[in-house]
């Protein structure tokens, strides 16, 4: 196109929620380069006020259907932090299992249904049903298996039922453990083929030295459900000080709240986690990373999809490990939680403040609540990965445009769309607090 | 009339042997002093001392959802799905409930879905030593003692179980398991003593002669009691769903995605539910909750008496236990009685 470009992509497809890409290049200078969010506002933090802390997890799960389990886990963590409740080892194991399923399921959805069509040069997975039937079936099979495990573990994947403050309302039977193990053990081959498939694809070549943020810890485990928050620029702070990291600010040109760390945008998500913690991956995942040239992470945002593939392998193998451990130790059913327990005062309630920080598929997610002595929510703050990524996405767009401005409008559009999609943005998540101004 | 004895420490062996032959269903604990019939494989899983289960054993005779017809584009077959099973530990009230259902479904036209299933179920009864709770009215309904309707019947004593062998099927089970001893005179006299003692525990729960209840209902149709229930009932249908003698159903078609194959099945329905008696055009012939409650009581204490010459209440107390509005059968009867004093 050249030195004057006007691009306006309305209702970006194959992402969660509604967003637009607007680029305005005049005489080679970038006038405008925005990712705009047009999702209708949903006011979750506002709605939470005055409600029981025991309802927070039920409600915040409804922020996003795809990361429903992630929101649930972050919300529970924040609530337990506020109430001063320490979950049992068994509970933590089961929560990790749940989080693994969430990552696996969401990554599969992104890799196969949202990203793959771009890489194979089609508009959606629909045409793939005819041309790559085995690939589509594999994707649906993988998703189904994750779902089946979630159905057993928490009743359903979208808006889980059994996971609650204190633990689980119902724990899996011995039979259930076997079924889950069996479901997951059948996936090795499908995942191997997924790695194979991704390794053969051509990702756009593009590097930018972004700052990456993810949970970090001192033990040997790939941190997803606990840890401090760290960045590739060497920052490390406790989750309770999350605001120092997320540092929200409003920008006039865009409709979204932005975040930065030390005055610089940052990225969260699979690639960020790999950059921070790739040494801690399961050995099988390390092999996959090698195969996908991600042994030490990397700086190409398009490779986020490949990083997700590596995490799939990690999650599957670690999940199987957890299930095997639970089978050996047996389940203690006395730990089952009676919900609405607040009504029977089984869980002591006190005033306090708590923060949850959980690595959900798209990056680190923060929930923070302040409650009164009766357990009513006074204030709520939720910071989702996508809003943390927006500033960085715009940074990437600015960096990529000079290199592609000579291409056709279609090519530029596709490149920008692919870039945004690679981050797997979840706009319905972000919409709970985004400024909405329609760009008709 | 044969009686055999099983040492209590062999009960587990008995159940294991039985479950090697076929499915064994028995009461298991669900916590909160609640029990439910479920498949068991060993005696340890069974709660021998239990109060009436959440659902009565009718669920095995007339499952919650049961296929009646399997169809495809050019044929339709009437089918019945069943298991060969033993229900172990059926209290006398539930035996009475099964007897009621047997009458209903054996009437012409016979219901073969029910009858085929019934013919594949072996029933092992279990005697109650004491009242389960304040909701029971089994003595009023003459269901506190065994009155047939079983293949084997167990009475529990401290160190052994006494089995009454009532049918050939029962006899075959005893023989095939082969860990029983014949009962002797002392066993029998102990049983007689036990039953005598039981009579002093189980007393008529309401100050009315059982046979007069039908007459009480003859004059209670416009009682104010029903208005009271109208205020309280939530129309949740719990009372009928847990009732051992309720058998109303709905018939529903369920096609597959191709829309030509599929099944027609029946599912428990309840006269307490809002849409039950609604017809096209919107008329609802039992629109008020009070009238629906009245209908339920008349279906227990009045209408069946005219048709089957017995009450369709077994005194199990389930409807009262399951009602969160605390509508208690004994209280309703007591209120009706009071109105006519």
């Amino acid at each position: 196109m050249g030195e004057n470009i006007k691009i306006n992509i309305q209702h970006l497809t194959r992402v969660e929620g509604h967003g637009n890409i607007v680029v305005d290049l005049k005489d080679g200078a970038i006038i405008k380069c925005n990712l705009e969010i047009v999702e209708a506002p949903r006011f979750f933090e506002g709605m939470l006020r005055g409600r029981s802390i025991f309802e927070a997890q039920h409600l915040t799960s409804r922020i996003c259907g795809i990361c429903a389990c992630g929101h649930t886990l972050a919300s529970i963590q924040a609530a337990e932090d506020a109430l001063g409740l320490t979950p049992s080892d068994q509970t933590i194991k089961l929560r990790k299992l749940l989080l693994h399923m969430e990552l696996l399921d969401s990554h599969i959805l992104h890799i196969y249904l949202l990203a793959l069509p771009d890489l194979l040069g089609v508009r959606s997975f629909m045409p793939l049903i005819a041309t790559h039937n085995d690939v589509v079936r594999r994707a649906l099979r993988l998703k189904k298996a994750c779902n089946d495990v979630c159905n057993i573990l928490v009743g359903r994947h979208v808006h889980p039922i059994r996971a609650t403050i204190g633990g689980f309302t119902k724990l899996p039977s011995e039979n259930d453990l076997d079924t889950m193990l069996n479901n997951l053990s059948n996936l090795h081959e499908d995942l191997d083929e997924t790695v194979e498939l991704i390794s053969k694809l051509q990702f756009p070549q593009f590097q930018r030295d972004s700052q990456y943020v993810a949970l970090v810890s001192d033990d040997g485990e790939y941190p997803l459900l606990s840890g401090d928050v760290g960045s590739t620029r060497g920052v490390r702070i406790n989750k309770s000080e999350y605001k120092k990291i997320t540092n929200e600010y409003m920008v006039p040109h865009s409709s979204a709240k932005f975040t930065n760390l030390n005055g610089e945008p940052y990225a969260v998500g699979a690639l960020a986690r790999l950059n921070m913690n790739c040494r801690k991956l399961h050995s099988k995942a390390v092999e996959a990373a090698k195969k996908l040239n991600l042994s030490n992470g990397g700086n190409n945002p398009f490779l986020n999809t490949a990083a997700q593939t590596v995490e799939c392998v990690h999650c599957l193998n670690d999940a199987i490990g957890i299930l095997e451990a639970l089978k050996t130790s047996g389940i203690d059913y006395k730990e089952e939680i009676l919900v609405g327990a607040n009504e029977t005062s089984a869980i002591a309630v006190k005033a306090g403040r708590g923060v949850g920080a959980v690595e959900v598929p798209r990056g680190v997610l923060f929930h923070a609540y302040e409650i009164d002595e009766e357990g009513r929510i006074l204030n709520a703050d939720i910071i989702v990965p996508t809003s943390q990524n927006i500033a960085n996405i715009e940074g990437d767009m600015r960096a990529i445009i000079p290199g592609i401005k000579h291409k056709s409008e279609e090519e530029i559009t596709l490149a920008l769309e692919m870039l945004v999609r690679a981050y797997d943005p979840c706009i319905s998540c972000s919409a709970h607090f985004l400024d909405v101004r329609f760009v008709d | 009339m044969a009686y055999v004895v099983l040492r209590k420490d062999r009960f587990d062996d008995f159940v294991s042997a039985l479950s090697a032959q076929r499915k064994v269903m028995a009461p298991v604990s669900r916590g909160y002093n609640q029990f439910e019939f479920d498949e068991v494989h060993s005696g340890r899983e069974i709660a021998l001392s239990y109060i009436p289960t959440i659902l009565p054993p009718k669920k095995y005779f007339m499952p919650q959802r049961e296929t009646l017809i399997q169809f495809n584009s050019d044929s339709a077959e009437a089918v019945v799905d069943f298991y060969n099973m033993v229900i172990l530990g059926v209290h006398t009230c539930d035996l009475a409930g099964i007897q009621c259902l047997n009458m209903v479904f054996s009437e012409r036209p016979k219901d073969y879905n029910y009858l085929v299933r019934k013919n594949n179920i072996t029933i092992i009864g279990l005697e109650c030593n004491d009242y389960c709770d304040k909701y029971a009215s089994c003595t009023l309904m003459s269901a506190e003692l065994p009155n047939g309707g079983y293949d084997l019947f167990i009475t529990e004593f401290d160190e052994y179980l006494l089995f009454h062998v009532s049918t050939q099927t029962g006899e075959d089970i005893i023989n095939s398991v082969g860990i029983f001893e014949p009962a002797n005179a002392s066993h029998m006299s102990r049983l007689a003593g036990y039953r005598r003692q039981k009579r002093s525990i189980f007393n008529k729960e309401l100050p009315v002669d059982s046979k007069d209840i039908a007459a009480l209902f003859d004059k209670s149709f416009n009682s104010r009691v029903w208005d009271g229930l109208n205020e309280r009932c939530l129309a949740c249908g719990n009372c009928t769903n847990v009732c051992p003698t309720c058998y109303c159903f709905d018939v529903i078609d369920e096609p597959a995605l191709d829309l030509t194959t599929g099944r027609r099945y029946r599912r428990w329905d309840s006269c307490q539910l809002e849409p039950f008696a609604r017809v096209a055009g919107g008329a609802n012939f039992r629109e008020s909750r009070g009238h629906r409650q009245r209908h339920r009581y008349y279906r227990k204490f009045s209408y069946p008496v005219r048709k089957f010459f017995r009450y369709f209440c077994t005194g199990c107390g389930r409807c009262s236990r399951a009602c969160m509005a605390n509508i208690v059968l004994k209280d309703v009867l007591r209120d009706l009685l009071r109105e006519h004093q």
């Binding site: - | 205020e231 129309a235 249908g237 369920e254």
Partner: protein, 249 residues
Amino acid sequence: MARPKAAFFDFSCCEGCQLQIANFGESLLDILNVIEVVEFREIMSEKYDGTLDVAIIEGSINTPRAVERIKAIRARSKTLVAIGACATTGGVNGIKNVFPLDEIAGYVYGGNFRDYETIQTMAVHQVVRVDYFVHGCPIYPPEFVAVLKALLMAIPYDVPDYPVCVECKLNGNVCMYDRGVSCLGPVTRAGCNSWCINNDNICYGCRGMVSNPNETGAIDVIKQYGLSIERIVNKLEMYNKCRELNPHG
């Protein structure tokens, strides 16, 4: 028979109900055999602006622009299906209506709140005619399939007008009230196969209330169990707040 042309549209929601459909696994392909999906923004880039046989709507209506958009969709669709609580009852988005609009927008957005175009949350049928309802947060997949079949046969789908307790009892669950915990099952319409109680949680009322709940009776029950009325009313508001505005659309 030509496959009816169907499109998915999302309004304000978490998109979990669409995901429920994507989660069908390989049987999703069977569904795609009987309907032709021509637009599904979440997973497809294809767009379609002709006449639709079926419009499947997710999410609630809470901006003036959404009102216009749903009206336009209705105008070009032969049948319209509302899926998920957000679309069928307003869902949790309805809680917003508990607060004065200015107040809640101000809380979330600070000084600039007047820039936001937002109106009271509404269910889809409160704005346009809806032919089929698939209630629930999220939708119960077997019910979605049942509705799809009714739709293909061009016959009505009757949403059960009796409470969740019915299915709960058929499943032989221990009643939550017997555990000393309040449950919205008695006033919530069935159709989810008592999903939450099967998992030992309470019913939160996500399918909306039955058409004729005995509200005074329910309050009696809550008192009798020594439970807090305030909490129950609060719970009922989670999914039933939109009921009070313009209930018949």
